[in-house]
Symmetry: none
Subunit: 580 residues, 2 copies
């Protein structure tokens, strides 16, 4: 994966005053670049809410500008020019200087500062616009283009290349792995997984075989000690669980509507109430399931979707289990992103282009053209591995069929944010706890021990999910982290003292440009009935993969790989059963 | 030498109000252009000083913008868009209109005028930013790229082409000749040399042979009549001159440190004082030498450097002489730039690309890439002919060796500005004067008759050099010209009346983007001792020429040509002694 060469070149003309460190008098784009211009970015959040504080507005405006850059795969170093507009500008204060320097990180575009009497809305105090230069890579002519370098896309590319076809992978992010992302802020190899974390070694055979091939070390999920479950009606929970297990086992994952079409007319909440009556404790249990497994509330998801989702992992019990054969049995000592990195390394050199979002796919009789922001491809087949709800990010010519478009619009990612709290020791084990907490009070829904003992990485994964997660998301990060730590301390630490965390990290997938949620797009009621066939349907010579399209282990890494293999096979078959 | 094709295309959309003559409603860049954006340019000088007067600020802002354009080899006609920000804008005054029209010279970019309450600093009243489009020429693959089309670069290219190798010359300026530049504001062939002016026909054999080959007409420097020397101690001057001549004759120009290393521990001023004691008149003479010859004060230059510099021209006496064999014996009737133009015409067609500053040179095992702002070259060898202090303008990968970088940082150009005063007749001759003045009072240090009688070009070259020159530089041009004329009138014209000049011109090489001083980079004390070997050392496959690297006639055109021939030979030898 080549890292982009320096693009924008800052020049200090002789005999002009020294512009370091903030800007340069002249900035030149690389030859053959494409120009990107942003609207003026103000300190307003996604809902248009504007902080009263000017420093917060400035910070938010730069955060918004960062999102603009992400949307085209640009980096700060691609900025040629910044113009900032400041209301009530006071040259003795220069509030913008610190956030600007932080944002630029040493890059020096040409800049202009424009004091203005006011901006578009009276509450706006700061606005910044960018002119960006995106260097263009030579166009490529290949058999197959895979859009997205998550596990499903990488797997599809691998299969295509193994069959002897040329294949390029084009990725919007500056990394591979999609919703697997292993963070190591310690810089000491102590990774935590802010994305997908668990596999098993039995029924998740696709992912486990790959993990073995890549020689990646696994860690058994710690289940020694008590699980903690805040008070709830056990009986109604067991009744509901058994009933859900029974119904979900009756479903056919290859054709869920055959036995389950009636379940698609209701939300999972409707179904729970139909089974348990007005038992709030049963609904509370059901809420933990949908929150932890989909980041959603039971009211948001079709009963059929949820139960079929469980069935894809062998059933509710197995999917929720941390034991042998369960969904959360093993983790990877150095993080799950190593799977994607390993798979990427199995591809031919220079297969993958990073930081290059695909924005247009033009399908003609003769060939398909895939236009990313940094490169154009001509190919015979395309495999789209981006999450279904993100199809809107790509303009297809001709347009996607109406049912696929509607599915893309209606299927939604839940809110899942795993706040990873690092400690210097696994103190909860001293209180006889395995680290598993299920909360009916919130704000954290579930916690799990995510330590890797042999590396000295001790941490709790705190699932901030569903409505409680969305509430936490409205807080500042500091407030959110404090709330999470307080919850953990009061529950797992109720028996004694709890040390201060040594680090906390998170990734709010909801705000991630290229996921827009996590872990798996899910259908509200009455969507599968009409649109399930559209999920995996190809569009001309364009094929669709992604963990949500898997039959087995939807939403898991195993499902992602299986869907990628399926997409690869579709394309190989279409191209004529391989060249080799 | 192809002149750049029209790049920006102005469009007047039907049914919009007439935007002539200042701007156009739409401006389009050529396809395959590279985008350049400037920071907002204000009316602040190199030290950040801001004139109180708004007209002066506007003029200065456009001058600064011109420097930004120069730094990438852009012309005003490459501007796509201008935005100007005006404090206290009064539509009835429009102070900016005249300087803007002068700046644009008929070009009509798209523009926006933005009245603002203030600018980044309270004293700023005007700011202008430009969006520029640089058309890109097709990349070239050649054996050798020469950076710089001054005499040394052109000579190197000529030798390389004569040996049968392909060679491209890439030049930052919009003309050839470097520090030779012949101005003809009269437009009647009456050139004056604002840069290098003198040669001789004996020991400057390289340049004289070329002048003969090119059929250029020479003019003998007028020495008929008295020299004028403002009162000074003649005895101490003669003693010092003889001593300097003696020491400089003892030096070996091929290895000056062998006999002269002790002289590098002191400035030339220190050496003068060590020879003459506290004689201010001796130092005043020494000052005339370093000022006239290097644009420097005796305190600024190493004694060894200065004496070796003299030796390179045969000794102090010969280098300073206007007689046969002397450094200032002959001029060219139509100006010395004709040498560079003639040499350029001896190169293969389309060898030279103008207005294309090289900003990056990437040296890899396989090839070298030279990136100019308008074209990229792939080649086997590079010859850098820009002045040593300007290496900083080029980013080398891998970086230049530390000693070469340090030499580039420490060796400095002096301040030399030849103010050329034209008269309708050589009135000084009527007073029995040859036009040569040496002043111990300033502000002009030396004058010489630079007339070409047969063309009716009558002028005095007035050397504004060293500290006195730097003082004059702080004045406005009108004030500076007045001071120069007054000095000439009072001295050469003291015996009678002096006619008004019919024209005055100058080029302040100090502010020239691509020279940053004149005539020749010189070393302060203790630089040669450590860094002299780095001066001509190649860096991998990159070679270095320039008049300061010559052994003979450093700082003269003859030295430039000799250094170019040396660099050409180095490259030809490296490539295998020629193909023909």
């Amino acid at each position: 994966m080549p890292s982009p060469r320096p693009n924008v070149f800052a020049i200090d003309p002789h005999n002009l005053f020294d512009s370091r460190p903030t800007f340069s008098h002249v900035a030149v784009s690389a030859p053959g670049s494409r120009v990107v211009m942003t609207a003026g970015q103000v300190g307003a959040d996604v809902n248009g809410k504007v902080p009263g504080n000017v420093e917060e507005q400035i910070r938010l405006a730069f955060a918004n500008l960062t999102r603009c850059l992400e949307s085209v795969g640009a980096h700060v170093t691609d900025i040629v020019k910044l113009v900032y507009y400041i209301v009530d500008y006071d040259h003795t204060k220069r509030n913008h200087a610190k956030p600007l320097l932080d944002f630029l990180g040493g890059h020096r575009p040409a800049t202009t500062l424009v004091p203005v009497p006011k901006l578009a809305r009276p509450e706006f105090l700061f606005e910044v616009e960018a002119y960006v230069s995106l260097p263009q890579l030579p166009s490529q002519d290949v058999d197959v283009v895979v859009i997205g370098a998550g596990l499903s896309g990488l797997k599809a590319a691998y299969e295509v290349q193994q069959a002897g076809y040329s294949c390029a992978v084009v990725e919007a992010r500056d990394r591979v792995g999609g919703k697997t992302w292993s963070s190591d802020r310690t810089d000491k190899g102590k990774f935590v997984d802010v994305g997908a974390a668990w596999i098993n070694d039995t029924n998740q055979s696709e992912v486990f075989r790959l993990v073995q091939e890549l020689g990646l070390e696994t860690v058994v999920q710690n289940t020694t000690g008590n699980k903690l479950s805040e008070a709830n009606g056990v009986e109604s929970m067991l009744f509901l669980r058994n009933k859900a297990e029974e119904v979900c086992q009756s479903l056919d994952i290859r054709d869920p509507l055959r036995n389950g079409s009636h379940l698609d007319n209701m939300s999972f909440e409707d179904w729970v109430r139909s089974v348990t009556g007005p038992s709030e404790s049963a609904l509370a249990s059901a809420s933990i399931w949908t929150r932890a497994m989909l980041g959603m509330e039971p009211r948001e998801v079709s009963a059929l979707f949820f139960l079929n989702y469980c069935k894809s992992g062998g059933g509710l019990l197995q999917m929720r289990s941390d034991q042998k054969n369960g969904g959360q049995y093993l983790r990877l000592a150095k993080g799950t992103q190593k799977i994607a990195i390993g798979l990427a390394n199995l591809l031919r050199p220079d297969t993958i282009t990073l930081s290059s979002p695909v924005r247009v796919v033009e399908q003609a009789a003769s060939a398909i053209q895939v236009h990313s922001t940094r490169r154009t491809y001509t190919c015979k087949r395309v495999i789209v591995s981006v999450p279904t709800p993100l199809y809107k990010e790509i303009t297809f010519h001709p347009a996607l069929p109406a049912d696929k478009l509607e599915l893309s619009r209606l299927n939604r990612h839940g809110y899942t944010n795993k706040v990873m709290v690092r400690y210097s020791s696994p103190w909860w084990r001293g209180y006889g706890l395995c680290g598993m907490l299920q909360s009916f009070a919130g704000p954290v829904t579930v916690t799990r021990d995510s330590s890797v003992d042999e590396l000295g990485q001790f941490s709790l994964t705190c699932f901030c999910v569903g409505d409680w997660g969305r509430q936490l998301s409205k807080l500042s990060q500091a407030e959110r982290f404090a709330a999470v730590v307080e919850h953990v301390t009061k529950t797992l630490g109720s028996a004694g003292s709890v040390p201060q965390p040594i680090g906390i990290e998170e990734h709010e997938w909801q705000w991630d440009q290229w996921s827009q949620g996590c872990p798996c797009p899910a259908a509200p009621p009455r969507v599968m009935t009409r649109l399930e066939p559209a999920l995996r349907a190809s569009h001309g010579k364009i094929h669709f993969v992604g963990t949500e399209t898997a039959y087995e282990w939807k939403g898991y890494m195993d499902g992602a790989l299986r869907s990628g293999a399926r997409g690869g096979r579709e394309v190989i078959d279409a191209l004529g059963h391989g060249k080799l």
